[in-house]
């Protein structure tokens, strides 16, 4: 009979980040699709309904939530607890490289061994970092489209993207990353929860994980 210990893993701020991030992205994807291909056609003039304006409005509210979430994560990558800092998930130490290898072996059913670790495994951590960078790209291209006449965004937008159209193109393509990520992410969270009884899913609500007593 194994005994488990409760370990505090994720700060409240990180859990807040997670749900701000995940929920805002769901809204951004739905409204983003609408902005690309408005699937309604009002047809009635003077009906006092503004579907496109409303969808864009929701997109921008969600965009500000996402931007705040990204700022929170940026802060935590530098000043968070041991599990939250960025070097905890970078494959730069022997221990982290080994964890990356072990995780890949475990996920491909080659090995049954689970490399115990309190924070994210390295594979997950890298996927989260990539998603964080993709979110930065969404924010920069999004604000460039939103404030085309502001001196700041006009200057940086043209430097980074060349034109509004190219920014929009990247903005749209990058959206697909979030959907693909979400499918794999949710699946692997469930998979891990089934494989290792450490309470992974509840950890993103409670902040605590359960580990074997040494």
């Amino acid at each position: 009979m194994a005994t488990y210990e409760r370990h505090h893993c994720w700060s409240l701020l990180l859990r807040l980040f997670h749900w701000m991030f995940a929920l805002s992205i769901i809204f951004l994807i739905v409204t983003g699709f609408y902005i690309n291909t408005p699937w309604t056609n009002t047809m009635i003039e003077g009906s006092a309904s503004f579907p496109m304006a409303t969808m864009r409005y929701i997109h921008y509210i969600a965009a500000y939530v996402l931007s705040s979430a990204v700022l929170i994560r940026l802060f935590l990558y530098i000043f968070g607890n041991a599990q939250e800092r960025v070097w905890d998930i970078l494959p730069i130490t022997g221990r982290n490289l080994n964890n990356l290898k072990m995780t890949l072996l475990q996920y491909s059913y080659i090995s049954n061994k689970h490399d115990e670790r309190l924070g994210h495994n390295i594979l997950a951590g890298l996927a989260y970092l990539l998603t964080f960078i993709a979110a930065l790209l969404m924010i920069v291209s999004g604000f460039y489209m939103l404030y085309p006449e502001s001196a700041f965004w006009a200057k940086w937008g043209v430097m980074l993207f060349g034109s509004q159209q190219f920014a929009r193109y990247l903005h749209h393509i990058t959206m697909w990353w979030f959907m693909i990520f979400a499918v794999v992410h949710i699946y692997l969270c469930i998979w891990n929860d089934c494989t290792e009884p450490e309470g992974l899913i509840s950890s993103i609500f409670t902040g605590a994980k359960f580990k074997h007593k040494a």
Partner: protein
């Protein structure tokens, strides 16, 4: 009275036409009415600046739209306030005489250089030659001596259709080859003559070029997005769209967003200044904007009737819309997840629960 019937170039510009042209330019520049006398004065009394107009890889459409505007006042005004020393389409001189005019101006006078058309750079620039010299050489000879350069049209500014992928002649715009001389870009296919006139009048009146954006386009003409000033904008916000050209919604004048209008990503004064003195512009007559004032518009704004360019996956020959490719990749991901789960479950069933370390 200005002769609006015989649409020929007329050196006799009457006062009414002159004032009208100046007023149009002042409106485009966003100047107060009080400034108009200043513009008029500058246009009437300043020494006419010498202008050299070079044509490279182009279709002459910019010149056509400038000089054959339906109302001849604009063209007359332009020809009246500048001294067009060299312009291949309208000059009387030909052959060696024309070349002489060019050299006389370049070497002996301050002048403004207007460039129309892209400059091919591949294989030593041999794809465009005039009088035995490549466009690159001509530009390199003339440009450094100019007091300012106006690149007119999308070809001269960003390379235009010649520079569209795969850009077989290595065409580029003026700003890619010239530095050290102030450059104003007036893109468009063709650009509005008023934007050109406004730039010239601004230069004559204030002795400097107008304020520019980050792509060197005058802000007075390219400072705002078409979408944000479009007369069909209410239909966009209220969700009334043309689904197909020629459908009932098209006839009702609804928003052209879904049939690929590029107004949301294009900077130009078209909705405000309009064209041809008859107050029309593409969207007002039922065709979406194709984004002709933006860099690389042949590559990024096409397909003209879709919102976004196609995704090309390098070295695979795969071309598709972003959503089609996205859906495929997402589908493959979902299938992989399913297979992964099935393998896991299968393994458990075979090995039994014994592998469970609990």
């Amino acid at each position: 009275m200005a002769d609006t019937v015989k649409k020929v170039l007329d050196p006799q510009l009457d006062r009414r036409g002159f004032l009208k042209g100046c007023t149009m330019a002042a409106a485009a520049l966003g100047m107060s009415e009080a400034m108009i006398p200043k513009l008029v004065e500058a246009a009437a009394t300043a020494e006419r600046p010498r202008v050299i107009w070079l044509h490279f890889q182009e279709c002459t459409g910019c010149t056509e739209s400038l000089l054959r505007s339906s109302h001849p006042d604009l063209a007359r005004l332009i020809l009246d306030i500048i001294s067009l020393d060299y312009h291949e389409t309208v000059m009387a001189a030909a052959g060696h005489q024309a070349e002489e005019n060019l050299h006389a101006t370049v070497n002996n006078h301050p002048f403004i250089l207007v460039v129309e058309g892209a400059i091919p750079t591949k294989d030593g620039g041999i794809y465009c030659k005039i009088a035995g010299k490549t466009a690159m050489d001509i530009l390199a000879e003339v440009a450094p001596k100019a007091s300012a350069i106006i690149a007119i049209g999308t070809c001269a500014t960003f390379g235009g259709v010649q520079a569209a992928a795969p850009n077989p002649t290595g065409a580029v715009g003026v700003q890619d080859l010239v530095s050290g001389v102030p450059i104003v870009n007036i893109p468009g296919c063709p650009p509005n003559p008023v934007s050109f006139l406004g730039t010239i009048l601004h230069y004559l009146t204030f002795k400097r070029l107008p304020a520019l954006d980050n792509l060197n386009r005058p802000l007075f003409a390219y400072g705002r997005r078409i979408h944000d000033h479009c007369e069909r904008r209410a239909h966009f916000d209220e969700g009334r769209f043309v689904e197909q050209y020629g459908d009932a919604f098209h006839k009702l004048g609804y928003c052209l967003y879904k049939v690929g209008c590029k107004g949301p990503e294009t900077f130009s004064n078209c909705p405000a200044v309009r064209f041809n003195d008859v107050d029309v512009w593409p969207v007002s007559v039922g065709h979406g904007c194709i984004g002709c004032t933006e860099p690389n518009f042949w590559d990024t704004m096409t397909p003209f009737y879709e919102r976004l360019p196609m995704v090309k996956i390098p070295a695979s020959g795969i071309v598709g819309s972003a959503d089609k490719i996205g859906k495929t990749v997402l589908g493959i991901t979902a299938a992989a997840v399913g297979i992964h789960a099935a393998v896991g479950i299968g393994k458990r069933l075979i090995k039994g629960k014994s592998s469970d370390k609990a």
